[in-house]
Every structure is written in C-alpha cells, then in structure tokens.
C-alpha cells in the first residue's frame, strides 16, 4: 500500500497544481523525483511533525490541497493539537496518509504503533477515515481526496486482504446469512476465515467514517459484531447511534488497550489481540451462542 501511495501521490502532484505534499523525513527518499519536479509543492520539513501539520494548515489557508504523511503515531498522536487547531479550528482541510497502523512496526515497539489514531480523530469534527483493505483500493481514495477541501485520513497497513473491493465506501455485503459481522479494512480476510461455516452475514467497508449508518440499520437484525484493526470499541459510539431505537446486542473487537511488550511481526500481534482467524472465531462464536 505504501508503494501505491507513493506512485499515486507522485502522479497527483504532476496532474493537479493545487496539490502539495509535506513529509517529515519518513518516505522522503521515495519522493525525490516528485520533489525535483515540483520543488515549490513538495516539502520535507525534517523530523518535525508539529511543523508538518502547521505547514499543511498554512498551505490550505492559501487554497492549496496538502497531503501529509508519516507513521501513524507521529502523524496523528504526536501532532494531535496541530490537527485539531491548525486544520479543524481554522476550517481548513488536508489529506493525512499514515503507514504503520496498529502494529505493522511490531519489532520497532509501541513507540511506532498507533492503535488509537482513529479514536483520536473521532474526538474531532468532520474527518473522513479510509482504512483500505487492499493496495488496489488506495489510489481511488487518494484521487478522490484531491477534488475537495475536507479533512481526510487514509490509514495504510502492511496487512491486506486477498481481493480489492473498490466500491466499499459503504457496507458491502460479501456473505449472506444470519447475524451481521462488519469487517473494517484488512480485518476482512481474517473475518471471512473465522466465520467459515457459520451462519452469519459478512459486510466489508474501507470507510468507517462517516459510518454507513443506513446500511447498518438495514442489515442488523438483533446482533452485530464489528471487527476493526485499531482500538477495540472505537466504533461503538457511532454503531450505537446508528442502531438507536433498534433492540440489538453488539460485540466490538479490535486492538486491546494494554500494551503488548513483545516484538515479532504483525501476525504475532494480531494473534495477541485475538484478531487472527482463530481468535476471532472464539470471540464471535462465543458471542453468538
């Protein structure tokens, strides 16, 4: 997904003079050619993430469309107040593109992981959040974001599904059956494997914000399981709002709050958080019994 981001953003910069890119050393080398072609619109501020967000806000104030990029914990967690004030409070927007997700950087440790990024953006108004599940979903999301001035977050990950579903902005039903299981982004394949042989409906989305509330209301018949690749329960509030007035039971699965002080790779951390197929099967079947 990172390569798709680099190729697509490089092309967008070539095609649309309103766009700009701001990075803070991360991935800077991959944009060397773009920087050479557009020195007035491609910036590497060094290891300065607060400034990256501030520069994005300033560019947007002049009418440009800035793309900002870093590891999720540096892009979102570290610069949270700049995102809140330099973008939201100024009524400007930007396209924030992160890599690393919840535990792609498993061996780097917790400092390089951001299970809380989507929850942090949920405290703010007006953010669209894309969590693509496959590299072939990334380009269209990035291109669409160039055509307006709203606030957009694109959360890229190493983990991805076998197939792309480019039309999964809303809930896209992939399996029809009983209770609804919603899989966000790269959680789709583990969910499909975990629920093999179970009488469930599986729906997929790569755009959890705004949540497809109409789709959710149409699909829920009493029970819903939401599986997200970031902090467990992040979507509990919007799901509860969407189902307001409908009697239902809900199970929210995702990354645990407790820090896993182990290294390994993303598969190890998925297992530790119960987000591998076996763990998901245990949780989902226990809930639906």
């Amino acid at each position: 997904m990172r390569e798709t981001f680099i190729d697509t953003t490089t092309a967008i910069l070539d095609e649309d003079p309103r766009t700009a890119l701001v990075v803070a050393d991360i991935s800077a080398a991959s944009f060397t050619a773009a920087r050479r072609r557009h020195p007035d619109r491609v910036f590497n501020v060094g290891i300065r993430e607060q400034l990256m967000a501030g520069v994005g806000g300033g560019l947007a104030l002049t009418g440009m469309r800035p793309y900002l990029h870093s590891y999720a914990p540096f892009l979102i967690d570290r610069a949270y107040e700049q995102i809140k004030l330099d973008l939201g409070h100024q009524e400007t927007g930007a396209v924030l593109v992160s890599i690393g997700a919840s535990y792609d950087a498993a061996a780097e440790g917790y400092t390089h992981q951001s299970p809380g990024d989507v929850a942090l953006l949920d405290t703010l108004d007006g953010w669209t959040v894309h969590v693509p599940g496959h590299r072939d979903e990334v380009a269209a999301l990035l291109r669409a974001a160039a055509r307006h001035d709203d606030r957009v977050y694109v959360r890229l990950s190493t983990q991805e599904n076998a197939h792309a579903y480019p039309d999964a902005g809303g809930l896209r039903v992939l399996r029809r059956g009983g209770p609804l299981v919603v899989a966000v982004g790269p959680m789709l394949d583990p969910v499909l494997e975990a629920t093999l042989g179970m009488d469930v409906t599986v729906a997929y989305t790569n755009t959890p914000r705004p949540l497809d509330t109409d789709g959710l209301r149409a699909l829920v018949e009493g029970e819903v399981v939401v599986v997200e690749p970031y902090l467990a329960g992040t979507s509990a509030h919007p799901v509860g709002q969407a189902l307001n007035g409908l009697p239902h039971r809900a199970l929210h699965l995702g990354v645990g709050r407790a820090e896993v002080r182990r290294y390994g790779d993303w598969r190890d951390h998925a297992r530790a958080h119960g987000l591998d197929p076996a763990g998901l099967r245990r949780s989902i079947s226990g809930f639906l019994l």
Partner: protein
C-alpha cells in the same frame, strides 16, 4: 484614534500587559506596511498577518476597528455570548483575521505553510508576517518552524514582542534562538524604528524583536 478604541475594548476587562504590548507594532503594520484593506480581506495576493500570540487581543481588535475591518460597536462586548470577539481571535468569526489562535506556538508553523502556499501560486510580492510573544517562544513547536524557515531561506517576517514575560527568560537574548535569520531589534514603542524593521525584505527569514 486607536488608543480611544483600545480603552473602549478594555473598559470592562482587566488591563493586562499583553493587551498593550502589541499595540504600536500592530498600528504600524496596519497603518504603514500591510497591503490589506477591508475590501481585500479575501484577495489571494493580500499580505498576510498572523497573530500567533492570540492572548490579550484588545489592541488587535482596536486596530481592526480603527481600520474599518470590524464595526467599532463590536468592541463593547468582547467575550460576550453575542460577540464575534473572543478573548482569543477566531478567523471564522472576524473579517480580516487570518488565523484563530489562543493555544501558543501555532502561528509560526502556519505562517511557514502560508508563505509556501503563496509562493507556489506565484504571489511572489505577497508578504507573510507573524507576531509572537517572548513567553510564547517557550513552546517547542516554534523552534521546529524557526529552524526549517532558515534552512529553506523562506522570506517570512516574525515579530517577537519582548516584554520579558518568559518565566525562565532567554539568557543570551532572543535573536540567538533564530539562527540564520536576519535580525532587527527595535524599541517597540518607536513607530519609525518599527516601520524600518518591518520593511526589511531579504533572501531569508527576518526577525524583528520589539522590546516594550
């Protein structure tokens, strides 16, 4: 004129040093330097003035009223439920205000982005100014912007109002915190000195320390 307006806006709030420390610099900016009028607040090539130090904005509001950006009547109810004027300025509510501030350490980064955006769009004669307080420099975010602006030789002008209000001071002075910037140190009450310093345009960022 603007002194009378300042008393009007500060009539029922405590006179704080921060409300008055900026008055002369703001007046010189709007009266002699900035290419902006109430008619050009949305012109893409207008000069930009970003008040980073959103604290004590009475002087800012008084100058905006004196120059016709906002009605004088607005000054009577600062901070009121029905007033567009808060104790920190909001760009969405006040014509001519470029950024909403209050939390310190945001204006300089926004100014760097603003100047880069203007340059990318070919507005090469448009100038970008940002005003900070000496205590505001405590915020580390400023130093990210100070270093980067110098590294890329971005010709913005930062004004630091120095009323020695930083809790731990700046031993050695403020200019040494702005390496590779050009520097003017002026009496922050002397309008001609202030104007000369603000008119400096070079091939790198410029710092004006206005001591009050």
């Amino acid at each position: 004129m603007h002194m009378k307006l300042l008393s009007r806006v500060t009539a029922d709030v405590k006179h704080t040093p921060s409300a008055h420390s900026t008055l002369d610099v703001l007046w010189v900016l709007y009266d002699r330097v900035l290419r902006i009028t109430p008619e050009t607040v949305d012109a893409p090539d207008r000069d930009r003035f970003l008040l980073s130090k959103g604290h004590g904005p009475a002087a800012y509001y008084a100058v905006l009223a004196a120059k016709g950006f906002i009605p004088e009547e607005w000054l009577d109810d600062m901070g009121g439920w029905n007033s567009p004027l808060g104790h920190h300025p909001d760009r969405v509510l006040i014509p001519g205000v470029e950024i909403g501030t209050g939390s310190l350490g945001h204006g300089l980064g926004l100014a760097v982005g603003t100047a880069l955006g203007l340059r990318a769009q070919g507005f090469l004669d448009t100038r970008t100014f940002v005003l900070l307080g000496d205590a505001e420099l405590d915020e580390g975010s400023n130093h990210e912007a100070i270093a980067y602006a110098a590294a890329i030789r971005l010709p913005i002008t930062a004004i630091v109002i120095d009323n020695r209000s930083a809790t731990h001071g700046w031993p050695g002075g403020i200019p040494v915190r702005f390496p590779n910037w050009s520097v003017s140190v002026v009496n922050g009450r002397d309008h001609d000195q202030i104007e000369r310093a603000l008119r400096v345009v070079s091939d790198r960022p410029h710092l004006v320390v206005a001591s009050v």
